[in-house]
């Protein structure tokens, strides 16, 4: 769980503007007082968000159009010389398109893994049994654990020299040699099937699925509990088999939730920096755009190019989410 949490609930519940009681005539003095107090109470948050979030975002635009480097930082102001140079440089730089493709593969595959696993978990834990509460709580562990600890354990487990996975892979599964899961850019294969992504990218997608499926699991479980029992009972009376029940009763009820989860997980995976930076450092075919932005900012000290790249990332994300909402939006809005 990284810092800023967008409220996942927002799109799920309809914007609940609890209309404050219509102030009757003669109580307008209280209405005026309410307005005054309202501004008073909201202003600290408003100020801190405006200064620490909104202004910086606007400033990013200014930085992206200037030649700002860490070295000449002190001479740069709002009124510098503006140009599109950063954008041209970033868009034509080697590896940018690759990074974009990698980001897309990572986001789509990671989202699919997380939601797929979450769905399986939610279905498997649908019926009560002894200890279900504890199992459910355990399912949430990957999601609440600090990302640094989780990535460290994973990279230790996947380590080619003393990692557990490679130990059992070579001793039990008959791998001819240990696999460098996080540093190998060789194409990953499963059961002889070439996946056309590097081993490392495959591993970070699996990590993303592992770490984020509890989120999907929570939402889907909540939605499943809201399906009236009578639906399933009626289906049984009509002779529906378990898979038919899933296909015709449960899945249609879950689709709106899955649609919302898809948007949320896609956005967060697309913006994800921590996981890949910590697991692979962006090497071996896992260089996503966020890691490139970090590299430009810190290692090259090229603030302007970093800002331009971050803006391009945000713009692409906005377009993708916009297209998705346009295609699937309206009808499935109420989840």
């Amino acid at each position: 769980m990284s810092l800023s949490g967008p409220t996942a609930q927002a799109p799920l519940t309809e914007e609940r503007e609890s209309a404050p009681a219509q102030a009757p005539q003669g109580r307008s003095a209280r209405g005026r007082e309410d307005r005054r107090i309202g501004y008073l109470l909201i202003s600290p948050t408003f100020v801190i968000v405006a200064v620490m979030v909104v202004l910086p975002i606007l400033w990013t635009f200014s930085l992206a159009f200037q030649q700002v480097r860490l070295l000449n930082l002190r001479q740069t102001g709002i009124f510098g010389s503006y140009s599109f140079d950063n954008f041209v440089a970033v868009l034509t730089s080697p590896g940018f398109v690759d990074a974009l493709v990698t980001t897309l593969i990572y986001s789509v595959a990671g989202t699919a893994c997380a939601i797929g696993l979450g769905l399986i978990a939610a279905l498997a834990l649908r019926h009560p049994f002894r200890g279900r509460g504890l199992v459910r709580a355990a399912m949430l562990l990957p999601y609440v654990a600090p990302v640094v600890a989780a990535t460290f354990v994973w990279s230790t487990m996947l380590n080619p020299q003393f990692g557990l996975i490679n130990h059992y892979g070579t001793s039990l599964l008959g791998w001819s040699e240990p696999i460098a899961f996080l540093t190998s850019s060789e194409s990953a294969t499963i059961f002889g099937l070439d996946l056309h992504v590097s081993n490392a990218l495959f591993s970070v997608v699996l990590f993303e699925g592992w770490r984020s499926f509890p989120f999907a699991f929570l939402f889907l479980t909540a939605r499943m509990q809201a399906i009236p029992e009578t639906y399933a009972e009626a289906a049984v009376v009509d002779g529906a088999t378990p898979t038919q029940q899933f296909r015709y009763i449960i899945l249609p009820q879950l689709l709106p939730t899955i649609a919302v989860l898809t948007v949320l997980r896609f956005i967060w995976t697309f913006n994800n920096f921590d996981d890949i930076y910590l697991l692979t450092g962006g090497g071996a075919g896992t260089s996503v755009v966020t890691v490139r932005v970090y590299d430009y900012l810190i290692n090259r000290g090229d603030i302007g190019a970093a800002a331009a790249q971050a803006l391009i990332l945000a713009a692409i994300l906005a377009v993708l989410v916009g297209v998705y909402l346009k295609a699937f939006g309206r009808s499935e809005e109420v989840a």
Partner: protein
């Protein structure tokens, strides 16, 4: 055998298998973390496949080394814990101070721009964190506050305040306004009604919100990395672990001890407050 019967039998077998597999997949990495932290590095290298430590090799030296100050040859995690606690507790306190009144205002009071402010707070959070990181990095570098815990604290508060408002607002919405109206009839002002009527009722939500904010701040990595990396004495536990994980000099088992120290508070808090938090997680979630 009918299709129905086949499917039922199959699922009866598959279900427990899936549950056990999922349980192993989610829990095992954490078990592995704890186990490695109790084993000396040599025996891990000799027998990497061991699923439990053998008798006699269990030792707590890893923890001793990880906690000992660097001056005495350890890794100095005690300092990191202190820094993490300072930042996390500070974030919780400051955030609640601004977000409780804010949430109350957004939930209860009709004022111009209320909807717009709500939308602004929300919209901001779908921005990539890395985009926000650039100007903040530049800004704090310029005012010379980049290596300080205070700078990090301010950034954290700004990032979580809006989420906190959103979660608390939903709770305030469920408290009947009639309670406050009754207080108003008795001559209470708005602020007094808020303080004496709604706030005590919202305590459970505030407590779970506090835990949630603490977890976010404790786990945070990107801004800690950008702001503090050059100042080892100011590292948080997350940052310290990630920085030392790259070096060859520090044994993996010692860092596993560090991982346990980083993870344990979160897991303990999580299980203590699971009922509260499960709702909070879906409400406040994460941004990668």
């Amino acid at each position: 055998m009918s299709r129905d019967l086949v499917e039922r039998r199959l699922l009866a077998v598959l279900r427990p298998i899936i549950i056990v597999t999922l349980l192993v997949v989610t829990v095992f990495p954490f078990y592995y973390m704890v186990m490695l932290s109790f084993r000396p590095l040599d025996s891990v290298l000799q027998d990497p496949g061991a699923l439990w430590p053998s008798w006699g090799e269990i030792d707590l030296d890893t923890y001793k080394e990880v906690l000992t100050p660097t001056a005495d040859g350890g890794q100095g995690f005690l300092t990191f814990i202190k820094n993490s606690l300072l930042v996390a507790v500070g974030t919780v306190v400051l955030t609640l101070i601004v977000s409780i009144p804010g949430a109350y205002a957004v939930s209860r009071l009709e004022f111009f721009g209320r909807r717009q402010i709500g939308a602004l707070f929300l919209g901001v959070y779908f921005f990539p964190a890395i985009l926000l990181a650039i100007p903040l990095f530049v800004f704090f570098t310029r005012i010379g506050q980049r290596g300080t815990l205070t700078g990090l604290l301010v950034v954290y508060v700004a990032q979580v305040a809006a989420v906190s408002i959103y979660m608390l607002r939903n709770y305030f919405d469920t408290i009947p306004a009639s309670l406050e109206e009754a207080a108003a009839i008795d001559g209470c002002t708005r602020l007094r009604a808020m303080w004496h009527v709604s706030l005590p009722l919202a305590m459970p939500a505030i407590a779970s919100n506090a835990l949630f904010i603490f977890m976010i701040a404790w786990n945070e990595f990107l801004f800690a990395l950008l702001f503090l990396v050059e100042r080892r004495d100011n590292w948080t536990v997350s940052l310290g672990l990630s920085q030392l994980a790259g070096s060859i000099e520090v044994p993996t088992t010692v860092l596993m001890g560090g991982s346990v120290i980083l993870t344990l508070p979160i897991i303990v808090m999580f299980f203590l407050s699971e009922r509260w938090l499960a709702g909070g997680l879906t409400a406040g979630a994460e941004k990668g």
